[in-house]
Amino acid sequence: MLIAATIAILVVMIMAILRAVWGPTLYDRILAVNLFGTKTVLLISLLGFVMGRPEFLDIAIVYALINFISVIGVLHYSDAHIFKGGDQQKKTMKKNS
């Protein structure tokens, strides 16, 4: 059952990568990266139990903290309106299409 859950999480990570590559807006990509990071925490802790080495949980804790800090950091730049070029690019793409 541990291996089945690991495979399910791997499938979800592939889906998140697909959305991060497709993503029409910037926020879709940030959302997909956030989902990918959370699922990485779960994958690391599950792999620790599959391999019989629960010491991997330390790495999972550190990865959860890094994931949170990365998302909040990117959104801080977004609040400072540095990403406005991205929005204009999206509008021009809509006009072209």
């Binding site: 399910a8 959302l31 989902l35 804790i61 903290l65 959104l75």
Partner: protein, 109 residues
């Protein structure tokens, strides 16, 4: 104990897969964020509870509880920050404006 752990892991993987299908197939950013944000916390909690029921010793159990608490605090915070940032930068949800206009015109002849 083993059966309950398997049940929790199964529910968690089902919720994970449903969140992944949601992020692929929903039409709008906010609906995608609904799918991810709703399933993410519950799936993580289910899988970590399933791991807690695998009879680990004390320190491993403590680490699992720490990961669960951190995920339950971090994931809604990130979702809230993401939604507010998207709204502040004028990312409007897709609405069925034609249908609304038709309903208004039909209700007010």
């Amino acid at each position: 104990m083993d059966i309950s752990s398997a049940v929790f892991l199964l529910i968690g993987s089902f919720l994970c897969v449903s969140g992944g299908v949601g992020i692929l197939r929903f039409p709008d950013f906010y609906t995608r964020m609904h799918a991810v944000g709703v399933t993410e916390t519950l799936a993580t909690a289910m899988i970590l509870i399933g791991l807690m029921l695998q009879n680990p010793d004390g320190l491993v159990l403590l680490k699992l509880i720490i990961i669960l608490l951190m995920t339950l605090f971090i994931s809604p915070t990130a979702s809230h920050a993401l939604a507010s940032a998207a709204l502040q930068n004028n990312l409007m949800p897709e609405l069925d404006k034609q249908e609304n206009n038709e309903k208004e015109s039909s209700s007010n002849p």
